[in-house]
């Protein structure tokens, strides 16, 4: 098939890890007899430096048209003097999520055995951990009214029942394909939005009698995630809590550098990106770990194109590379970013 997608390398290490992922995708399309049609576009600081807005019209138009987006990372201290919507993150990532209605952000927490000893947590506590965070991505305090007035600064958090309902449905649908448990995280002892959240999740849960539902307060969840990580299956939460909890969860995996993410809407439209940032301190040195980006590309094949065998081939190749320590220095290996891409691609080819 014709795999047409929008490629947004972005800033910092984005272009490097992106190149490694494209190399893997090219090998996959060769092995599986597909054709690749890559629409590379500017975003974030790279767009600003080219005299464009952080989210250029051409970029948005391409994203909307292809409906499949592979993104590296945006932002960095170089653009720290900019404010508000002029900033790379605020001016590109958030409007892209909102305008494409990518309301369901999925981030896995399933540590690779070979990385368990890198985590600050004890191995025996982590073994068997396998959950997914379903984060609401287009509502809440990220997108409410914000500004300054005589009283200081304000940010409004808002949720409608419909917004909560649709993300809850995604979480329960996912739980049905997994171990049938949803842990909904809120702060309903204080926030009105959380009380609406909890009520709505309760309502949706009645349509899924096979799924066990548990509620946890966000403060308690930061503990439970560390003390009983193996107990979770699908963790459902709102935008800001999801931002916080997914970063905490990444520590369980031993490295941020291996965690992909998908931001989905209804249908097959999706944005796929590593959960790590642009890491400007190591950009351009060939040190960046491309695994999260390569796995994001695999998720794109699976979720936007329905190419399950191809996605699985990449994931198996990554697991093999990790086992063989064909990795970058952050994971104790000796390979460059590009070499990891080639090693994974070679494993895809060998397995075919």
């Amino acid at each position: 098939m014709n795999i047409q997608f929008t490629y947004l390398p972005g800033d910092g290490i984005g272009p490097e890890v992106g190149a490694a992922a494209l190399f893997v995708l090219e090998t996959v399309s060769d092995v599986f007899a597909h054709s690749l049609q890559i629409e590379a576009q500017l975003i974030g600081g790279a767009a600003i430096d080219a005299g464009e807005k952080p989210l250029p019209d051409a970029t948005f138009e391409s994203c909307q048209r292809t409906g499949a987006i592979l993104l590296g990372a945006v932002g960095g201290p170089k653009w720290d003097h900019l404010t508000g919507a002029d900033r790379p993150e605020l001016g590109s990532l958030l409007p892209l999520r909102k305008r494409l209605n990518l309301y369901a952000n999925i981030r896995p927490c399933k540590p690779y055995d070979g990385l368990l000893d890198r985590a600050p947590l004890k191995r025996d506590r982590l073994e068997g951990t396998d959950f997914v965070v379903m984060r609401e991505l287009t509502g809440g305090i990220y997108f409410g009214a914000k500004g300054r007035d005589a009283g200081g600064a304000y940010d409004e958090c808002r949720y409608s029942e419909a917004e909560v309902e649709r993300i809850a449905i995604k979480a329960f649908d996912l739980a049905m394909q997994r171990r049938r448990k949803v842990t909904s995280v809120d702060k309903s002892n204080v926030l009105e939005t959380s009380r609406l959240w909890r009520e709505t999740v309760e309502q949706v849960s009645r349509r899924y009698p096979e799924v066990t539902l548990e509620h946890l307060l966000v403060d308690a969840m930061t503990m439970h995630m560390l003390t009983r990580p193996t107990d979770f299956d699908v963790v459902l939460t709102e935008n800001m809590f999801g931002d916080i909890l997914t970063d905490e969860a990444s520590v369980l995996c031993g490295s941020m550098g291996v965690i992909p993410s998908a931001s989905l809407s209804d249908g097959t439209i999706g944005l796929f990106e590593p959960i790590h940032g642009s890491a400007p301190d190591i950009a351009g040195q060939g040190k960046a770990n491309p695994i999260a980006m390569i796995l994001s590309a695999a998720w794109m094949l699976r979720l936007s194109f329905g190419l399950e065998a191809e996605a699985s081939a990449i994931e198996a190749a990554v697991a093999g590379a990790l086992d063989a320590s064909e990795v970058t220095g952050d994971l104790g290996g000796a390979l460059t970013t590009a070499e990891v891409g080639r090693a994974v691609a070679q494993r895809v080819r060998n397995a075919a």
Copy 2:
């Protein structure tokens, strides 16, 4: 001296751990020749069950008059059917904080060596950890406008410059007495309140040239707290982020059951309470660990009454009891709640 304070046992295990702490206080006042004047008052669910409001007028009046408050815990599933200000937490704890202007909440993270192996984190990562979280407690999304309208539910987060400035001053003052480092945590890449926060903290930091200031985004902080806990000294943050981060920090200590907290205003007025909750599942069984409550009483002696030697005597006795495993079952010991109180009191007496 006459140690006059308001005692609010509250709900669940509150009265049990409270009784153990009072026993220790009585011993201390005997040993150090003080007199105790305890004003016991109702709060939370216990007040509701007695036909009162969650924060009865007599309770508030006593708190205001004594200015020194020792609180057990409030709330529990028994009152889960209540909503809004009728709930124990929302109707008592939050208005108490707000009306007494207890804007500075301090929670320590300094694991006892004997508890390190209970933490899910590896011992070598934790050794040397010693930081304090300074949480803003009377502003932010906890106290902003909240409600429902045609669009759904909303909660407003608000901060004035003056609110940020006074808590920042507390944090820098504390850092001057410690290792001279402040880590300010916000979400300034998304929130306007966080941008005001960061600007104001920067301004305050200019008055403390000896103190090193670092800024971290809240999502990143959940990772750094686990990967480099020994790097922090004073962690300064707003109300909601502080709620989340202090629970995460408690995991580093191996147990929530040993962490006290102080909520302070200007001057000596203060509320002292364990960071754990009311644990209704184990209430009334003599299983509850009273150490956090006993340490909260020590903090009250130090911070509201200036009784440093007395506070230190309690802390040393607790450390001794932990070393000797004179503890409850949650920490691997065989003592009841009351027995732990007596063991700590005996150690205070023996050391005198």
